[in-house]
Symmetry: C2
Subunit: 216 residues, 2 copies
């Protein structure tokens, strides 16, 4: 959490940015930002003029319905970037999504201006951007699959395992209400399904806490 921007940091978290010139450009133009857990990094409708690359920590991306309810889309973690933001910057549009720091998070912000220029100058930058798009596209498809084709119990299991994997821990720190919000369903449904999983020996429940037993 005390990272300063340097060649070492850059090489460590983004080893794919291979061109030395790109590296100096990033160092020259990038700026480090820190967000404590829970901080709102970007919200629906806000203008963004900076692309965040995640150095340390992770970010939860979600979408808002008309009535203000929320839907979890995906997590971003170290070495990744926010493609939706890239789109926004390029087209100078307003954000379609909300980004909240899932843990204490350090990001490297790159100014709007350079993002497009670099596409035609540095192969590894271009590859990074295209790969990000591809990843996010696939996340979205998988989210659609879940909502359209799966029952709630499957969605819940998937959510639990994604979250456990992100934090590299079998113990998930969350309330039933938060989970229900992320999946855009009722709290009671989640409570009942969790109780069910517990009685089947798949998880242990505690206050603000869910422990996955076995491999989910």
């Amino acid at each position: 959490m005390t990272e300063e921007l340097s060649y070492e940091v850059l090489n460590h978290y983004f080893p794919d940015f291979s061109e030395p010139e790109l590296q100096s450009q990033i160092l020259a133009n990038g700026k480090i930002y820190r967000f404590p857990e829970g901080a709102l990094i970007m919200d629906f409708g806000s203008h963004v003029r900076m692309l965040p690359l995640i150095i340390e920590g992770s970010i939860k991306i979600s979408r808002e319905g008309e009535d203000g309810s929320e839907l979890f889309l995906y997590y971003l973690s170290r070495g990744e970037s926010c493609t939706m933001t890239f789109s926004c910057c390029m087209a100078d549009k307003v954000s379609e999504i909300r980004a909240v720091a899932e843990e204490d998070t350090v990001i490297l912000g790159l100014p709007q201006r350079v993002l497009d220029e670099w596409m035609m100058m540095y192969k590894s930058w271009k590859n990074f951007v295209l790969q990000s798009y591809d990843q996010r596209m696939n996340e979205m498809i998988s989210t659609i699959d879940q909502i359209a084709f799966s029952q709630l119990d499957q969605r819940l299991l998937d959510y639990l395992s994604k979250t456990a994997e992100l934090h590299q821990s079998k113990e998930i720190k969350a309330t039933h209400l938060q989970i229900a919000g992320d999946l855009n369903v009722s709290r009671e449904s989640i409570s009942r399904l969790l109780k069910n999983l517990e009685s089947r020996g798949q998880i242990n429940l505690g206050r603000n806490k869910i422990v996955l037993l076995k491999d989910l």
Copy 2:
């Protein structure tokens, strides 16, 4: 439907490809393919080595659930391209989606090899690719919104208006079963909702046919 590949055709349908050199490259490397209405252009799991640009007609893109059921994602029409295919080509992966000709369709196929090269050579190509990603990303978000936040009646109305707009006609040629398939719901639900819309004076129903009155 008798288009041959030429500068005129290219300039007409893809006026944004402004660099003369890019234009000759496209003419040199592109190949025209024709698909009759209903033809399967690409299927889940198939390998694609070509990016289709749509010259004439339109294509319906959908996603398949594990049980074989289908979900409509979006239409592509003239001047557009299939971003999902671009991703596949770049990463040499297998198709995640199905593409079916919605009408008689002419596409310009570009070989895998050139797609990436051109990104750093021609600004207008790079812009086209990034814009396509952005558009598709937004379509996906909107699909997610629909499934997650809307009731079936809203989804149906949205589907009907998208389809009417695509074909530039208030008359939609489809059976209730097809619509139900696209929305991944039961045929009976669609029949009942349509009957309802009819009784409220919003549409007229005929065999294999739905006519939108007013503006959807």
